[in-house]
Amino acid sequence: MTIADLWDQRISAFLLSPSQFLATTTTESFLAELLHELRNDKANDQLKILLVSVLLGHPTILCPSASVGEETALELLSVFSHTPQKSILLKCNVMLAITNVIICTSCLATHTKTAEDWLDLLFQTIQDTNDYRCGLSQQPIRAAACDCLREMETCSPGLLSQKLEALYLLKQQETTVLHQSYCLLYTLGLKNAIRILTNQKDVTDLEFKSILGGNEGFAWKSNQLELTSLPINMLVQVPRLTQGLDCKELKSIMSSLLEESYLLTPISQSALLRELVEVVAMVPGLSPTLFKSQLLRLFGTADVSLMHATLFMKDTFTDSLFTAEDENFLLKRLVGTAQHPLLRIPEKLFYMECILHFPENRPISSSGEESLPVLVTPRLAASLHPTVFNDSTTMLCRLNLLCLVHLEADEGEADKGIGFLFDHILALLKIVDNDGSREVVVTSFRALFIFLMHFNGMEELSEKLIDKLCDMYSRHSRLAPNLIGLADRIQEHLDDPVWSVKLLRELQKCIMEMPPLQLTIHNLSWHLKVLKRVAKEGQITQRNTIYLLLNVLINSNLCERGNWQVGNAVLAVCRNLLEHPSIDQVFIELADLLQYISIQYDDTDIKDHARFYYTLLTNLSWEKLTGVLAQKLDGGRAKERSHSAIMAESEGIASNLTVHKTNRHVLQLIKVQEKATQSSSESVEATGEVRNWLEVYQGQFQTPGFGSEVTLRYNLTHAKETDLLFDKVFTICLHFELKDSNYAMVSDIHVPCVFRDGKPPEVKVKLKPFQPYPTSLCVSAMFTTQDGRSWHSRLPDVSVSFPEIFLPLPLPPNSSCECKEQVFEHIWEATASGNPDKSAISLFCFKPEDESLADLIKTHFQGYLITDQQSERSWKVLFFLPPKCHILLKITQAEDAARVSIATDNWELLPFVNSYLQNITDNCSSTVTDG
């Protein structure tokens, strides 16, 4: 596989899931690799563009802090300057990446040097209009520079506010296609500059003029706008400049911008028009009639963004630009375009939305809700009538619009119109009846919902619908969930639940009247679902339901077959029946039914449940019964909840069985500060036998797993801010994920409970390194709260620093000092002579202050000392790192410096040793290192 393919794979893996990808490496190293490859002269442009794309899309992941961002931007800048001139595409991509990094890592917001330099470079680039020198091919670079500047101005509004004259001249000079980029950049700068000025009281003519004639530096510190400044249509009050300013110059600029606007691409044109509309709205001296000359062209446009910009104009200027005639005309155009056969479906849907939010000159309400403009009459909207040939979204959209039209219409006209809509609904139901596909079924039920939401008050129609639906249900019982869903939603959305109750009552009747043959096993489960829902309605009598259930159980072989699912579905109906307010009337029948199940049903679980229900029914009053059965979603003791929930499938059981997720940190691991282990200096004297301690030492490694683990101790405590809900958590399972592959998997740790004000339990994490490098662990916890729900939450990452992996020399306990020294000397000699081949020696010097050396040794090396000859000012220290690495230190104090000779059998550890020593000696000295 070539390097390019390898990168290709890695980058697609990164783009698919940055978090998973970075789990196998670190952000720093990936970023370093990317930048390294970008500097590689041998890599081709295509590969480099691919590499840059990562920084283009995810700069904040790769540059987590402003300082990294600044460094990365500098690196990219050097890549940019070293890229040959012919690599246009690459250069453009790098420019965009630098801009992204600078803006997203807040280099721009905090006004760093890099951001300033970059801004200067960009401005120089757009000023260097001498394309002839290198040919037209350099145009894309200038275009990219304009885009970058425009984005920087957007994210730091007002940045260009003192450069408008220069920008204007550049815009005027440019005659190639790039004029579009300059034009958009200038307009944005102009708009922001004026917006800033509106914040100021009493603007003088001079101040106003100076904006247009500004040719100074970048406005880093001017009273900039917030990044979140909203477009004017979102503001309650449009900011305006003071009256009476001299706008002659601005007016001529605006006219020339508008005159040339048709030279821009439609999307850019729409952006330009929006900026200009905002400017005119803010400057009282400019009249909206400026746009008049463009209107006709805009009315006829086939482009959706231009039409949208026209509506924005309408919204902003209403009758100061659009006469009543214009308004009527525009609305007619909208209705026409909403069904134009040559436009695409999403565009037509958009125009329909625009009709519902049409900015009228004299709106009746301005609530932002959907409302129909008064000018839309049934006649005008007739062409938007839904048909069965429409795609589902268009159909629903048209239906909704037409419902509103006919709701508003005059009586005679409305009846006719509603009749047509009703026919349409019937046509849809007919398709469903003819075994329509799943999508058709869903769409038809949505159409029913929309229709009922508007016309549920028309009894005749809504009753006809109920008849039709029941008729369909008798043939297609698979529609049960859709029907239940419809009844539920209508009940939720309308204050008056009558329709739903009627539907359910009829469905109950429909099931009662079915010939027994039709109650086959498969259909039965649908019918039971419906009956279960029916049993929830207090207004519907349930006697028939109970008779039916009893009848079915007695007259079929269901009880002998003892299917748990069917039994459970029957019990689910019974459960809702138990809660029914008029249970008194059917008390005996229900008791009979439950008893029958508890005796006859051939499934122990179902029998038990039935008996339990029976006991509840016969022993408790209705109030108590409903109390027991009521589902408490929040709070309550775990026991209660699980009892009532498990009795039948319900929302409760789902919430009990699912693991909830919380994004907050509930728990955390805090490192237990270890007391420095006492060196066993008082160990037993040598036993007399002279043994080769090295052999003994090395022999130990024959035992599998010897000295391969580091145990770290933590306290499991609550994180600072958590909910009361989490004050007591139980059965915690801690799960560890490694971020690299230098360690073996860490097994899960189980903790019985953690209480907020109790003693935190101690957790021992056993790490088994393959390579003893520092690492960090992702920790997550699953636990149960007091209310019986299970939760999943992440803990703050646990980082394992280099010294945390140090172990003392693993010799048998009670080994004497001599034998330790013997081992030390043997290993030292071996490594110094380059055996094994990864061995290395190094030297580290630092200048300790008086007495600090001894303190240093005491605090950091106590447990690892081999010999301590304080009188001679020399120490030997050995760190053992699993699986089998050694770091040996000989520390001696010379006249004015302390020397630390380092020997190790794994040179890859040296950088870590170095930074560790630097770290601990930082407080007491200045250091000198030497390889």
Partner: protein, 480 residues
């Protein structure tokens, strides 16, 4: 006026969705974060996008009849924007996601909401929405090309070109332009050096070679014919004029062109051109041409203007009668060509399909002219030719096998609900009578370009329903 992210997801039948291309715009994201404040919802990683998207579009769990997240009747599926529910119902949502589906490809983009997050602002109040839509349409044309269904390797190469396309049309999340449809740019072009006059941004290059202005006028005719007095037949005509001042002229007392939409390159329009609108009543005094369109053409093929027209009669009037007798159907079809239509069809086919029936057995049908062809999959059609008399008939019986081998199904066409669908093309004809005279094309240029004009009439959704069965209502126009 920016978009936060863009995706191209492919969704083959029976497979889970796959992200084929994605792009995020971090500077826009920064703004989104600042605008939404505490209600900011970050975009999830690409690996979870397909599942969320397909759930919202109702394309998951094809084997299950009802899934609540997919089939809830109160979900607002009557909008062009969907919301992605990141933590299931009730959780955080990402809105508004615009989607365009073409075949197995789904294009989606997330426009920036420049508004306070609560309450949710209406879509038309967000500038980014129409720009996102325009960008998606452009990308759709670029990826799928004119045929709409590119070969896998062609699609792959176009996807690979997307980063450089985006560099031009949407470099930092801000749409600037739409990409040119695949394969539409003529070969002989050079970058324009600019001159005394500003170059339009939509014509970045200049053409080298002989200039040609080709004007093609395509009219499509749709029709629904029911053959019943209670149901009114419907037909309408719409046209496209894809490619300097062009003047469209209508014959004397022709009905005016309506709903005219023009390409943004048209520099000025006469107000009277736009006044006629299909939703208005016709008062006969409407403007009826000539329609002048001054414009500066881009180099690729483009749609200069689209219109609709009302013509007094459909070009082919048909009647279709179907009678059920024991185990066969009696078919009687009469098609009449209107006298205003030239009898010079390039092709004309009448397809008569039968749905929800057993497989077709013997077919005993006489055709007055043309040749009968029978298709195995239970569709059969006659290639028609209209004789001098301008009337073609087709009569006979169709038998069906009594076995259980079912043919194709359709939820609409049950019982005697059945239709004939017509496919035809007539070159050098328009129904509205609209035409472009070669000599009326004015080109203001020193070089004399060649001017070619063509016109054609093509059928589109031309149905004739069986008058003895129930036909589905197709339009509210009949209310008028």
């Amino acid at each position: 006026m920016s978009i936060r992210a863009l995706w191209v997801v492919s969704h083959e039948k029976g497979e889970s969705g796959k992200v084929r291309f994605s792009r995020r715009f971090p500077t826009v994201e920064l703004r989104a974060k600042s605008l939404a404040g505490t209600q900011y919802v970050a975009i999830p990683e690409d690996c979870v996008i397909p599942k969320l998207l397909l759930t919202e579009l109702g394309l998951v769990d094809a084997d299950k009849p009802y899934v609540e997240v997919r089939g809830d009747c109160a979900r607002h599926h009557r909008s062009l924007a969907v919301e992605l529910r990141l933590d299931g119902p009730g959780g955080r949502t990402l809105w508004p996601l615009l989607t365009v589906t073409q075949g197995a490809l789904i294009l989606a983009c997330l426009p920036l909401v420049e508004a306070p997050p609560e309450p949710r602002p209406p879509l038309p109040s967000l500038a980014s929405v129409s720009q996102g839509l325009a960008l998606l349409s452009g990308l759709q044309d670029f990826l799928c090309g004119p045929g709409g269904k590119p070969e896998p390797d062609v699609l792959a190469s176009r996807l690979a070109a997307l980063p450089s396309v985006l560099l031009q049309v949407c470099p930092l999340g801000r749409p600037l332009d739409t990409p040119l449809p695949a394969g539409s740019v003529p070969a002989a072009v050079a970058p324009s050096p600019g001159g005394a006059q500003k170059q339009p941004a939509w014509k970045a290059v200049v053409h080298q070679g002989r200039a040609v202005v080709s004007v093609a006028l395509t009219e499509k005719v749709r029709s629904m014919q029911y053959g019943k007095s209670s149901q009114q037949d419907i037909w309408d005509v719409y046209g496209v004029l894809p490619n300097v001042t062009i003047t469209l002229t209508l014959p004397h007392n022709g009905s005016p062109l309506q709903d005219i939409l023009v390409h943004p390159c048209v520099t000025s329009l006469n107000a009277s051109i736009l006044t006629t609108c299909s939703v208005d009543e016709n008062d006969g005094s409407a403007f009826s041409g000539p329609y002048k369109f001054p414009f500066s053409p881009p180099l690729e093929l483009f749609r200069l203007c689209s219109y609709t027209s009302q013509v007094p009669v459909p070009p082919i009037l048909g009647s279709y009668q179907l009678k059920a007798e024991e185990n066969h159907l009696k078919v009687n079809v009469v098609l009449k060509l209107h006298e205003s239509v030239k009898n010079s069809f390039e092709y004309c086919e009448a397809h008569i399909p039968f749905f929800n029936q057993n497989l077709m057995g013997s077919v005993e049908v006489k055709v007055s002219s043309g040749q009968l062809e029978v298709s195995k999959e239970k569709n059969w059609f006659g290639s028609l030719k209209f004789p001098k008399s301008r009337e073609a008939t087709l009569e006979g019986t169709v038998h069906f096998f009594s076995g259980t081998v079912a043919g194709p199904t359709d939820p609409l066409c049950t019982g005697l609900t059945a239709y004939i669908k017509l496919y035809f093309r007539v070159p050098d004809l328009t129904l509205s009578g609209c035409c472009v005279d070669q000599h009326s094309v004015q080109v203001y240029s020193s070089a004399k370009p060649r001017i070619v004009t063509t016109r054609e009439l093509v059928s589109s959704e031309y149905y004739i329903w069986n008058s003895t069965g129930d036909a589905p209502v197709s339009s509210g126009l009949m209310m008028l």
